[in-house]
Amino acid sequence: MIHVNTNYCKGCLLCVEYCPKKVYVKSEKLSKKGVFPPEVKFPENCIKCHLCELMCPDFAIIVEDKDDK
């Protein structure tokens, strides 16, 4: 499970760029903060490398390690 905290997210989209499996896309909806946050479009592709969490400067992404089927 991937959580994007839209309260913390400022819409830099580093996650979209750096995800090796292209899990994220830029959302088309503005968040409450007035930015376009990432949308978890292809969660099934996630390999739990946590790179998006590392690259996110705002602690806005949490990738749970446990499988959530």
Binding site: C12, L14, E17, H50, E53, L54, P57, F59, I61, D65
Partner: protein
């Protein structure tokens, strides 16, 4: 090496009521904070005995978000405050977050002398090439010809290289990376934290709001790419030098890693002899 999930970092190391951070969209400071906390987590450092010290500037707001003792001091003085903390209570792990202006301009002298003294502190300098907090003025690290609000016709002053300064004065550990090198950053911060003596990690970070905008460098993605392209790893660089070639790219990597007795060890030695 596997990375842990951010929820551990947030739960264990951050003051949640202080989030979100005040940093601008795409600012690299949050990333460096994340790297440092991951290094601390990996080393299992006791946050009850860790003090984060900072001066003034964007990077200096970091300790406010970290759940530990924090000392948000005056502009440029972080390293001097940290020296007092460490010498008065050597049990504490003292980590300084500073910026390029804080560390290289107003605090430049404290930086030099803490290295000379070899105080056992870790200084993480987030270099964004500009004064961000005040809206984008020229910094001691601003590259030649770059535009800032106080160099509207381009910077005519030669920039300083903080890591090379640290190396020349004799810091036992010096490393430089960019925010686009998370793995290397974490690894270097870990080494820095384990080093007895003055350790210095410089991280080049994008400031899209001021530096990027004024110099038409695009957003944080473009700037991060630019960092990757405009830097060269020390190993490659040394090979180039050996081949008689040169480059004007900024050298990154682990620049110094030596052993050197620190202030506290020396001080305690002669105190013991006096008794």
């Amino acid at each position: 090496m596997g990375f842990i999930s951010n929820d551990i970092i947030i739960e264990k190391y951050l003051r949640k009521d202080m989030l979100p951070t005040i940093f601008c969209t795409g600012c690299g400071i949050g990333s460096v904070m994340n790297y440092a906390l991951r290094a601390i987590h990996d080393l299992n450092i006791d946050m009850n005995e860790t003090v984060f010290v900072s001066g003034i500037g964007c990077s200096s707001r970091v300790p406010g978000y970290i759940y530990s003792d924090g000392l948000h001091s005056l502009h440029g003085r972080a390293i001097a405050y940290a020296t007092g903390v460490k010498l008065a209570n050597p049990k504490l792990k003292v980590i300084v977050f500073t910026g390029d202006g804080d560390c290289g301009a107003i605090g430049g002298n404290h930086f030099l002398h803490a290295i000379r003294r070899n105080v056992d502190i870790t200084v993480i300098s987030i270099n964004n090439f500009i004064y961000g907090m005040t809206g984008g003025q020229v910094a001691p690290t601003t590259p030649l010809n770059s535009k800032t609000t106080t160099t509207p016709y381009g910077n005519i002053e030669y920039p300083i290289d903080l890591s090379m300064m640290a190396k020349v004065i004799g810091a036992p550990y010096v490393a430089r990376w960019t925010t686009a090198h998370p793995v290397q950053c974490i690894s270097s911060i870990k080494k820095a934290l384990q080093k007895t003596g003055f350790s210095f990690v410089e991280v080049l970070a994008p400031c899209p709001t001021s530096y990027g905008r004024l110099n038409k460098m695009g957003n944080t993605l473009d700037m991060t790419k630019h960092f990757k392209e405009s830097t060269i790893n020390i190993k490659l660089y040394e090979k180039m030098l050996a081949d008689g070639k040169t480059t004007d790219k900024m050298v990154i990597g682990e620049l110094v890693d030596i052993e050197k007795e620190d202030f506290n060890t020396k001080y305690n030695k002669f105190c013991g002899e006096l008794k």
